[in-house]
Symmetry: C2
Subunit: 407 residues, 2 copies
Amino acid sequence: MAFLAERAKHAENALHEENRIAEQLERKGRRVIRLNQGDPPLYFPTPKYMIDAYVRALRQGRTSYSEFTGVGELREAIMRKYRRQGVPLNPEGVIVTAGVSGALRSLNEALISRGDRAILFRPYYTVYIPWLRMAGGYPIFENYNESDRWNIEIDHVTKSIKRLKQGNLLKKVKYMLVTNPNNPTGTVLRRSILEEIVDIANENGILLVSDEIYDEIIYNDATFTSIGRLAKGMPHVILNGASKNYDATGFRIGFAAIPETDRRSMELRKAFANFASVRISNSTPAQYAYAAALSNAVEHKRELKRMVDGIEDRVNYAVKLLAENRHLETVEPNGAFYIFPRIRTDGLKIKDDRGFTTKLLKEECVQVVRGSGFGSPSHFRMIALPPKKELELAINRINRFCKRHSK
Amino acid sequence: MAFLAERAKHAENALHEENRIAEQLERKGRRVIRLNQGDPPLYFPTPKYMIDAYVRALRQGRTSYSEFTGVGELREAIMRKYRRQGVPLNPEGVIVTAGVSGALRSLNEALISRGDRAILFRPYYTVYIPWLRMAGGYPIFENYNESDRWNIEIDHVTKSIKRLKQGNLLKKVKYMLVTNPNNPTGTVLRRSILEEIVDIANENGILLVSDEIYDEIIYNDATFTSIGRLAKGMPHVILNGASKNYDATGFRIGFAAIPETDRRSMELRKAFANFASVRISNSTPAQYAYAAALSNAVEHKRELKRMVDGIEDRVNYAVKLLAENRHLETVEPNGAFYIFPRIRTDGLKIKDDRGFTTKLLKEECVQVVRGSGFGSPSHFRMIALPPKKELELAINRINRFCKRHSK
């Protein structure tokens, strides 16, 4: 009889699997350039006006439990954010969570019974899988198309759903999850693609979930469209929060927005609220800080611009340096702050992406994440948040590393 | 085909089930005395030195993700807390969680497969059940004995385990969970009882879990003993955190301590760490604030004394007023801040505890929680945190209510 439950083996996060090697190197006195985790406050200090709001909440004694679905002020500020975009959200449709991670957990807990399925697109954000698998579900993989700038392969989705229908498996599909802007590719999905996805979800009665945690980190002339603007009348869930746009990962405040009021949306809201009641509360002062930030359009616009301009500059610089490496091929990002180069392993004496990242870390002290951790082998993900000098140092090492291992 | 997963129906929290009635009353202009949730900062402001430490962390830019198992400074401070008590804990044995709730979730996720069992004692803290049931497990109930000041009925436990053995069910028992000091009874368990429980767990290879979140809120001459001091060599888990002793529920920082290093403890540590990696991080500045508080023995001692003296005074006052009511019978608490009176329904024209609490709320605007929400019908739980004037007002209403409904 096993001591641990089966689900424990699904709890893994590819972003951190090489932390131990990195720590060993650091103990030996080496400096590791960590490009594995997307943590903006390490490079762009969390805006002062948000820290001030957080401090104000603390000084005002906002240190008790909050309402379990989130403080009213915050849920109303989130409602206003979406109403401004034409999404008909009410405060009752907002459940505050411990980051998008907390929302993903509730989503899977609410919907996934053993053997259920969810449609995910490769490359996916790595922790979608453990949440789904821990709840007893299995992914059905569709693809973002690298040759179409990582947009969705609609034809493939249509065919795949047809097959699911024929196999009587469609009823097991509990949701379809898109990530826009994407992690790990840094792609902002085209509006026309999103419209097609909405139609497919609608026609087949599939709940559409859109992880939009990077929705304001948009650059290189891209335009972002929330699923909430397209999905009129169709049940859907938007995941978002303070971590990235508001540069406050350590606050641990995210949310699930469920705008519609059809039967399924109402059931899902209720389930999210019930899970929240068992979890009791999220950080109370952090919720007030995020509410204040959402309500301060002037400061937010200025601070966001500063960060996004910086990210655009760093991403484009990194992509340019990576282009000097004939063993890599990179689609230029236009959202978030990740770069997801393809490794042309045919020209290298390295077998796969895992070998690539482990050797790169051990030999060059640069920590990136293997593409197979996102469902797309032969790639790696790196963050482009550090200053250009640091990125240059890291990419010079990556390029040197590839040269050394070329056939 | 159900839209929601089966587990969603287990997500409920008795503490909040009458919130809607309370809110309706408030919308009508009535003032509701809410004695349903144990939230000390509402009545004893979170100590200034902790707020200062929290503000310092924010001003120092500690707003990025933390290490997923918790910031090193905090895990070391927790280690020192236990080492001072003679518990051989290492920082690797500490996993920081989102309150004890977060630790309970990981515990059940790590251990409970469908059909597994956990031994719980009635009355239990209400959310033990949803965490267990959502993971697919079932409780086996033992009892705290009201006539022995809510200590454990050891004989019953021994007999019950014998029966489980005979039925070949013992192998399904994944843990036994005691709450000390207890919620909802306010009882500090006697050391001799704990020693017997440790022996039983040890002899039967059952993992012992001790929820000690109120371990410093001890009064009326009671003495608290951590399971960590008794369980030498036996795998066990201690749950604790900032919420109650440090008067900071809204920080959302708790932890699981797994002191031993036998095979099962090491497996469990690894599982907790893996779950933490999927959850990414807890509030970073709040962890620094709690670390600072744990390391400031002088301030903590002073602030704790102020709060515990206040609680002792309020609890004893409330118990005295409740004693004037011949329809209630109350065991005097000596820890935490709950009172759990027995309702002598035979003398009342009210059928059960649910009827009692709902009517009390509707007629007298006093919100308490039904005992059946803790597995012990014919009782209710109230908090004794508000000032004596407020407690007096509430209990006068309770007494008036009972008189009005007496047979």
